[in-house]
Subunit: 259 residues, 2 copies
C-alpha cells in the first residue's frame, strides 16, 4: 500500500490559478478533504473522488484540526490517495507544515504543492504590484489571527520598508492601525482592503492607515479580506500625485471598484 | 485589432507549477518574450508562437528594459497576442508593475497572471514552511539587488518576527549578516541557502546567520539562489533540539541535500 497524502494549495479562488501539479494530484485522488475557502469549481478535476468538507472558518462551527489529522491518517493507511486541498498556499498560513510533520511522524509520506496566495492574487487583481522598484523593495505577509501566539513586532514591521499584506485582519483593524502608527508609519500611508480576492465578487476599498477603520465600516468590509498597506496601494484616482504614480497601471481584469 | 499583452508568471522552474491561466495565455500567444530564468520546458504550451529570449541576468550581457518595452509595444500594435513570460510572479521582483504601467500609458491593455515565486517553492521543496503557528507568524520577501534604490531597513526586518526570504543575495551575504546582527537578530538564527529553487538540480545548504558566509563559500553557492532566514529554516539533523522541531517534516520531493 502506498500511503501518501498530498497537501495542495488550491490558490486564492479563481480556479484558473490552480497549478498543473495540483490538477495532477486531484486527478489521482481517491479522497479529497476540502477547506471552506476553496472554490468548489476546482473539484471538476477529481470527478471520481470522495469529497469531504473540513472547513475551519474563523468564528463559525468548524472541524477540529485533530479530527482532520486523523481523517487523513485513516484514509492514507487504507492505501488511498488523499488530497488535502487548502485555500492559497499550504505553507503560507495554511498549516501545511504542521500537517506534514504530524503525518511524517506516523510514517505517512506527504507531498506539498504550492498555490497562489490570496494576498498576491488580490493585489494583482487590483493592479497593485506588491514590489515595485524605487517604491517597495519587498513584501511582508502576516496574519492578524489570534490563534497564533508567536510574536509579531508590528512596530518593527512599520519601519521595514516593505509592502505589508495582512490576512484575517478585518476584526483587528483598530489594533493594526494603533500598532503601525506607534511604529511611526505615516498616517496617510495608502491602504487597499480587498474582499474575496480573485473571485468574480471581489470588492476593493481604498483608504489610508488613518481612515481605514471608518472606511471599512462604511464599506461593510467582510471576511475573508486582505489588507495591502504601503505606497503601492495608492488610489488610482490620485494619479496627479507624482509620488503615487509608480503604483498605477491599468489591467484588463479588475473586480468592482470603490474609491 | 485587439492589442493585448499578457504579463505571465512562469513559476520558479518546475514546469508543473505553471497555472492553468498561464497555460491558456501561452496557448493563445503569437509572440512569447521569455526571461533567462524561465524553464524552457513551459514552451511546450505554445508550439506555434515566435519565441524571443530577453534575459536580464545580473552581471551578464542582457537585454535593456527599454528594448523589452518597445518590443512588446511593437507586437501589440501589430495586433499580435503577446506573452511576456517571467520567472516566478510578475509582481514580486518581476517588474510586472512597471511594464503594465508603461504599456497602459500607451493604450495597450495588459493582463497579469500570478505565478509561484521562487522563494516559496524553494522553501517548500526543502520542507521549510515559511509560516508556522507558534514559530513564524509571517514571511517577508526582499531583494538584495542593488538596482533598487528604494530603502530597506534590515535592522527593522531583523526584529519583525517574520521569516525572512532574500532574493539575489548571494553577492551580498556579508552585508546582510552585518545588518541583521546589527538589528539584534541572534547569531545562531537558522539559515537555508537554496540554489536553483524547485528544479531537479536544486541544492540546499543549511547554516546559521553567523556562519552563512563561510558555509556558502565552502558549498560554492551560486546564483540564482534564495536565502531563508528564521527558526523555520532549522536543519533537520538538529531534531533533538525541541526548539527546532516545529520546523521539521518529511516530504517526498526534496532536492539533493547538504547539511
Amino acid at each position: 500500500m502506498s500511503a501518501k497524502v498530498w497537501l495542495v494549495g488550491a490558490g486564492p479562488g479563481d480556479p484558473e490559478l490552480l497549478t498543473l501539479k495540483a490538477v495532477r494530484a486531484l486527478s489521482e485522488a481517491d479522497v479529497v478533504l476540502i477547506d471552506d475557502l476553496v472554490n468548489d469549481a476546482v473539484l471538476e478535476h477529481c470527478p471520481g473522488a470522495r469529497i469531504i468538507a473540513v472547513g475551519k472558518r474563523g468564528g463559525c462551527r468548524s472541524t477540529p484540526q485533530a479530527f482532520i489529522h486523523r481523517l487523513m491518517l485513516r484514509y492514507a493507511r487504507q492505501g488511498k490517495c488523499v488530497v488535502r486541498l487548502k485555500g492559497g498556499d499550504p505553507c503560507i498560513f495554511g498549516r501545511g507544515g504542521e500537517e506534514a510533520q504530524w503525518l511524517g511522524e506516523r510514517g505517512i509520506e506527504t507531498e506539498l504543492v504550492n498555490g497562489i496566495t490570496a494576498g498576491l492574487a488580490g493585489a494583482t487583481q487590483c493592479a497593485i504590484p506588491l514590489t515595485l522598484r524605487g517604491v517597495a523593495r519587498g513584501v511582508t505577509l502576516v496574519t492578524a489571527h489570534t490563534q497564533d501566539e508567536s510574536s509579531l513586532n508590528w512596530q518593527a514591521l512599520a519601519q521595514g520598508g516593505t509592502t505589508l499584506v495582512v490576512y484575517m485582519g478585518v476584526a483587528k483593524l483598530c489594533e493594526i492601525r494603533e500598532q503601525l502608527l506607534a511604529g511611526a508609519m505615516p498616517a496617510e500611508t495608502p491602504v487597499a482592503m480587498i474582499e474575496n480576492a480573485s473571485l468574480a465578487h471581489q470588492r476593493e476599498c481604498r483608504s489610508t492607515l488613518m481612515a481605514m477603520v471608518e472606511d471599512a465600516c462604511a464599506f461593510a468590509l467582510k471576511s475573508p479580506a486582505i489588507l495591502v498597506i504601503g505606497a503601492v496601494a495608492a488610489n488610482p484616482s490620485c494619479a496627479s500625485d507624482p509620488a503615487r504614480q509608480g503604483a498605477l497601471f491599468s489591467v484588463a481584469h479588475v473586480g468592482s471598484q470603490h474609491a
